[in-house]
Point group: C2
Chain length 149, copies 2
Amino acid sequence: MAETTRFMDAALEEARKAAERGEVPIGAVVVFDGRIIASAGNRTRELNDVTAHAEIVAIREASAVLNDERLAGADLYVTLEPCTMCAAAISFARIRRLYYGADDPKGGAVDSGVRFFGSPTCHHAPDVYSGLAERESAEILRDFFASKR
Amino acid sequence: MAETTRFMDAALEEARKAAERGEVPIGAVVVFDGRIIASAGNRTRELNDVTAHAEIVAIREASAVLNDERLAGADLYVTLEPCTMCAAAISFARIRRLYYGADDPKGGAVDSGVRFFGSPTCHHAPDVYSGLAERESAEILRDFFASKR
């Protein structure tokens, strides 16, 4: 449990760093064999790339580190419920466990929206643990959007 | 109509080139202002990257060309019905029209699976035209998998 908190804290730190860069503050880390092998915040604005969500950037980095497109045995920690694009990428990468912070009823695809992991076209589903650091994850997002208004 | 055929032919050519590289043969092009601004085949194996589907690679390239993460007014041609990940990326990129070849009942997310563009968490849906060069798109895939057996 202490480990889980530590990894989620690292994802929250990535979210905060994303906010400092003017990006929607969502952060993610990939954990393999008890250590963080990739960490990323949202980079869509910086890279002019709608696919550069924190989860996608972290998964691509983890695949480069392991030299394998499949991340079997790896766990992903992310501050917000993954969207439809990221849920599918998580499935394709064969992520073992997904830990996420705040729910995203408007854009999420795990416990909201298309609930991809339970759909017939999903061929690998991670174990899902939600609500970790939920309040803090949501607050970082709320503060960011409040400061933009 | 002749234009549509020309652009779909370019996507098919990308699919054939992907097969030559040993990749699952799917190809895509992005068209803006009447010309192809990005074209790509599937590169998941080469890049060790599960997110490197033809559509994602083409969208990222088009965003780099236009220096804009939003591809409003751009059309995407792809040989196979986009998967859940790609359908969401197409939505995020604000693609105007989606033209696709063969259906993909096992992995598609447009007219199969989660039918993302009709779901409440989809906030932009392209106009969809399906069945273009359907037979040829499917044949390229069938031949590829037959040769692997």
